[in-house]
């Protein structure tokens, strides 16, 4: 397996070993040894839960610096609908798109066509799917990685349809290379992203194919510049020349798609990793029945709550609702474009998704069973307080680490006085 790229970096220098990241991580991928946080890369699902909680500012998101995009002859922005919910009501999607052009993009892609296409592709896929159910949406990269890491037997339930942003990247390269006589590599397809997870999914897609997009820029990274450009041009003549209305920049579903064509009782939208995990656990137990499709987003509130957004979730949501309410019906041109493209394009995922291989599990079955029995045995000697002072988030994790010889059982303060003294040294002011 190629080395895994991840959405953020922990700076060892800045890290003070305070552990909120370790406690926040939903897949228990962080250990804090010798006063420094360390990542177990195979377990990290790029959710960013650690990002916001670090008191030392030691964790930072990886995004592509805006300046790096100059290598392309023609740059096209594919803006997550979450972008448009970041600004005041009077700052319409058209104003925001205009500002993106002023910032140096050569075009702003009419992304809602792709979202609509994927809505349809998903509806069709769900109708034809022989089972097992429920199918699970895959447009949130964190959800895909969560399933690959923690729910391997559900990987085949991730819907085998491309994410709309990928379809946008493919189509815009096709169209502009035809129109402008450029090579596809000379056209930069840049996603304006609400989270670092999508940046990573573009650098290294979970299905191990190459992304159709060339990179991503975080909303928070360009927010100030966009705001400034909007302010400058408010008095100047209006919106960018677009053959369609706002519907082509902004989709009327919830950001990143909602699938109104599926009947309500068979379709469940979920947001927030904690709730998603609860539902996935119920699926594992066989408790969820009669649901055909789960639309899952790791961020509470969905992509408008992404960790690279600026506006707080509730304000952004109200702006979003306002935008939806003020939209007219989709234009005939829009409908025609959707029909045309739906007839000629293939939206199926190019490669099947597979469970992620976890390094510690490469050993044979006998050894795995031995480790498990050993871990169960060792756990009996631990206090079950999950204090974290051993450097693992839970006693169970510590027992497993010790059973696999990744940690010393006596790192538990209950088992060794030396550990306290050691910690005292490390956390000395």
């Amino acid at each position: 397996m190629p080395e895994l790229k991840h959405g953020f970096k922990i700076s060892t220098e800045k890290c003070q070993g305070r552990m909120p990241c370790m406690r926040a991580c939903p897949t228990h991928a962080i250990r804090v040894k010798n006063g420094k946080a360390r990542l177990i890369p195979e377990l990290c699902i790029d959710c960013g839960s650690c990002l916001g909680v670090c008191p030392s500012g030691a964790i930072s998101a990886t995004t592509v610096p805006f300046a790096e995009l100059d290598r392309f002859k023609f740059k096209v922005a594919v803006a997550s609908p979450a972008l448009f919910a970041q600004f005041a009501i009077k700052e319409t999607p058209a104003c925001v798109a205009r500002a993106l052009l002023d910032l140096g993009f050569d075009a702003v892609w009419e992304y809602s066509v792709d979202i609509e296409l994927i809505d349809r592709a998903i509806t069709d896929c769900v109708k034809k799917w022989p089972g097992p159910f429920p199918l699970i949406s895959n447009s949130c990269p964190v959800i895909v990685r969560l399933v690959q890491v923690a729910y391997p037997s559900m990987v085949e339930q991730l819907i085998p349809v491309e994410a709309p942003r990928e379809i946008a990247g493919r189509e815009l390269k096709r169209r502009y290379s035809l129109e402008l006589g450029l090579q596809p590599e000379e056209i930069g397809a840049i996603y304006i992203t609400p989270c670092q997870a999508k940046t990573i999914s573009i650098l290294q897609p979970a299905e191990e194919e190459k992304s159709y997009l060339d990179g991503a820029v975080g909303i928070s990274e360009i927010y100030n510049d966009v705001l400034q450009k909007i302010r400058k041009t408010t008095n100047a003549e209006g919106s960018p020349k677009s053959k369609f209305g706002i519907g082509e920049l902004f989709h009327w579903g919830t950001p990143e798609g909602e699938f109104p064509k599926l009947s309500r009782e068979h379709y469940l939208p979920l947001t927030g990793l904690t709730d998603v995990i609860k539902v996935f656990d119920d699926i594992e137990k066989g408790k969820i029945r009669n649901i055909e499709f789960l639309e899952c987003h790791a961020c509470p509130g969905g992509c408008i709550g992404g960790n690279l957004t600026v506006e707080n979730l509730y304000v952004a949501r109200s702006k979003n609702l306002h935008l939806v309410a003020s939209m007219s019906r989709p234009s005939p041109e829009f409908e025609k474009e959707v029909e045309r493209r739906y007839a000629v394009e293939d939206f199926s995922l190019r490669r099947p998704l597979k469970p992620r291989i976890i390094e510690g599990e490469v050993v044979n079955l006998l050894e795995r069973v031995k480790r498990r029995k050993r871990a169960d045995e060792l756990l009996k000697g631990l206090p079950l307080l999950n204090c974290g002072l051993c450097g693992a988030p839970t006693c169970k994790n510590h027992a497993e680490d010790a059973a696999a010889a990744r940690a010393d059982l006596s790192d538990c303060v209950f088992l060794s006085r030396d550990r306290i003294n050691f910690l005292r040294e490390i956390y000395k002011k």
Binding site: P152, K287, I358, R372
Partner: protein, 145 residues
Amino acid sequence: MAVELLRESYEIQGKNYDKAGEVSGEIKVLLRDLGIDAVNMRRVVIVAYEGEMNVVMYAHRGTLTLVLTDRDINLEIADEGPGIPDIGLALQEGYSTASDEMREMGFGFGMGLPNMKKNSDEFRIESEVGKGTFVFAKIRLNANA
């Protein structure tokens, strides 16, 4: 000879729909932690779930025992209950004696036993009317790896 690596037993309560599915859920977590591949895991869990549900729906109480060896996973589901008078009939697709109430809850399509058989490499039922039922299923680990 297959070498036994692990043996775990789980209690199942009859008529407890609130807890129904928990045993197969636990088995799934166990197999996931042991790194059993997804295809075999799915087969084991289908067999365990349907077996567990049959105990919940039809019997008073039961025990599910999972035995992992170096080459297969064996499930033994033993219950105290009414037993099955005609096993051949019970194994037919669509045959069910589930009550209307059970059907309303989404059970009783008569596919449980057939699906258990389909997902096992060896499958056996023994039953004594008025006493109980014993189901044995073997899933070979290399068969689908």
